[in-house]
Amino acid sequence: MRVGFVWLLTALAIAFSALDAGAADRIELPQGPNRDLVYSRCRTCHDLQSVVDSAGITDDDWQALIENMRQYGLRIPADEQKKIVQYLVTYLGPGGPKAAPPSQASAQTTADGKAVFARQCSACHQAEGTGLAKTFPPLASNPDLFIDRLFPVYVVLNGLEGQLAIKGDHYNGVMPPFDYLSNAELAAVLAYVRSAWGNDKLRPAGFVDVDAAAVGKARQKPMKPKEVHAYRAAHL
């Protein structure tokens, strides 16, 4: 347990190291395979504090805890659930991580937008971008994609919260930020979504996809999900 404690302190200290000015109070989970699934699936109901709080419980208990979450509404494919449990028992079990973090940061320069979409976005927006009525807005034929070049960038980086009317249907949910994805991954997934399912027909003439550098620039000015909502309203 002592070792686990020291590990936790170290991981959190690293997590708190300077990102940029004013971003001191931040939590991060240890880097490892499938951490992104924890970020994208668990944060509908939990902040990372509550994940960190449970660090140190046994493998069986992580398994039971995630199984229990299905009853509280978690709906993910069985293989994703297995990967999430695998991450949690490996990096947040008793005694600290059982595996070293990957030696390289995942700062890829190229990424497959379709693959990123399937893994990160399809659970809510659905594989064909149709969304779920009254719950998750569609991305297929969604004019929001082109109201402004940067609006979707701000959405994926910061999340979005507030009332939305998309083609006559109303939504009032919360999308979490996906800022744990690299600039290249975000640029790729946005380019994919802006072209897939007939969305290319919505493209204004001469529209050029945002590149990783543009995402990186947008990342420098964090917004609150409500501010992203206001940005949208100002550009409708």
């Binding site: 936790l8 302190l9 690293i14 997590a15 109901c45 030696s103």
Partner: protein, 420 residues
């Protein structure tokens, strides 16, 4: 409780302290394996405007937070600004209105009385407000309060509550039994349960809704009220306004917030929050023997009534007491069915004990204040308190004997470790 159990009790404030040191020496970009990924840590006032920024956060998304004891001990009635909070679903989108310490403006609120009844009713909040009301000073306590102390046996998942998931609050509202009788709904002969349900909804359509069921003849309901006020003001949304079922002496989860429905039923609600969550095994269990999803209606019971408990309020390590005479103070409470008759206190880790002086409580369900004069010695001191009531119910000296895989109902004799 001991060193082991303290290890994972890092609060957001501890994180803040770490930040400076870490920032001075390391930059995230210098650490291989760490992407530029991080999530802001919010303080309680950012999660629920009006809450004290000193609250200890367990889950920002659900507004789960507890009160540091140094704040809790200052007040006879726990103010809303520091009262612990626990929701089960994110307060976002349509639910954003209840992340607030303001009383909700919901003149349209209606309470439905339905189920196996001859005449279902809908009663307007504005009509309930005109009915005769009574006060109930009562401890409200999260069933998970003290969960972190179970880690000394084996850590259990969930918010790692210390002792601050409780408060002593003055509620005011309409007596439940009389209210129900006045509605003349005429329940069916098969009715055995009353189920309460609130406005809040799960985060996904597949999630279980939150509802609670009580035996229709449960004596605790005789004292229950449809509460409209907390400490003399309309109940803030974050604490269950505009209408909350308050059952004095029952754990927090039983006091359904934002009450919209009372249902007469022949079975308990199928809600997972009734059938699986918030339950205690009927028999003592050990880690590994009985797991978090092993609970059934038959082998466990809901966390209804507060088990007897005492908590030391001073001195705390934060007070940095010196050696010599000291007054040890604290509170004690139970489910209100019998008075607290004794609080035994030890200042030497249990070698010698004294009887504390107990002040009369404001009501059967309020907490009792107690105090005792003792001495601290240079070096390590272990303070222990243990309450007993008129029915002979007392706290286990070793609370770990009640270890359970969901970490509920901690009531071990309270211990404070001081180095003087």
């Amino acid at each position: 409780m001991n060193k082991k159990s303290k290890q994972f009790q890092l609060s957001r404030r501890d994180f803040g302290k770490l930040t400076g040191a870490a920032a001075a020496g390391l930059s995230l970009n210098m650490i291989p394996g760490f992407a530029r990924t991080a999530f802001a840590v919010e303080t309680a006032d950012q999660i629920i405007p009006g809450k004290s920024a000193s609250m200890i956060i367990h889950n920002a998304k659900l507004g789960v937070m507890e009160t540091p004891l140094v704040l809790l001990r200052k007040y006879a009635h726990t103010p809303k600004e520091i009262l612990f909070c626990r929701f089960h679903f994110p307060h976002e989108g349509d639910a954003a209105w209840y992340a607030s310490l303001q009383p909700p403006k919901r003149e349209d609120w209606v309470l439905e009385i339905d189920g196996l009844v001859q005449r279902p009713r809908q009663v307007k909040l504005t009509d309930i407000e005109k009915m005769p009301q009574v006060k109930r000073v009562s401890v409200i306590q999260c069933a998970g309060n003290g969960r972190s102390f179970y880690a000394a046996e084996q850590k259990v998942g969930g918010g790692q509550w210390k002792n601050g998931g409780m408060g002593n609050v003055e509620w005011e509202g309409v007596p439940l039994r009389q209210f129900l009788a006045d509605q003349k709904v005429v329940p069916a002969a098969s009715v055995r349960w009353l189920t309460a349900e609130g406005w809040d909804q799960p985060a996904t359509p597949e999630g279980s809704d939150f509802s609670k069921s009580y035996h229709i003849e449960d004596g605790a309901l005789d004292n229950a009220i449809l509460a409209l006020k907390l400490n003399g003001e309309p109940i803030p949304a974050a604490h269950g306004g505009p209408l909350r079922l308050i059952i004095p002496g029952y754990y927090g989860n039983m006091n359904v917030k934002m009450l919209t429905k009372l249902l007469y039923m022949d079975e308990q609600a199928p809600s997972v929050f009734q059938s699986l969550g918030y339950r205690m095994p009927l028999r003592p269990v050990k880690p590994g023997q009985f797991k978090a999803n092993d609970y059934t209606i038959e082998n466990s019971r809901p966390t209804y009534a507060h088990v007897i408990k005492s908590v030391i309020f001073s001195p705390l390590p934060e007070d940095k007491p010196g050696s010599g005479p000291v007054q040890i103070t604290g509170v004690a409470f139970n489910d209100g069915t019998a008075p607290i008759t004794s609080v035994q206190v030890s200042a030497d880790g249990g070698k010698t004990w004294q009887e504390a002086a107990i002040k009369p409580a404001e009501s059967p369900w309020a907490w009792y204040h107690w105090q005792v004069d003792a001495k601290l010695v240079s070096g390590a001191n272990t303070l222990i308190s243990r309450a007993t009531d008129a029915l002979g119910r007392s706290q286990p000296l070793d609370g770990l004997t009640r270890w359970n895989p969901r970490g509920f109902e901690w009531n071990g004799a309270d211990r404070v470790f001081l180095t003087v």
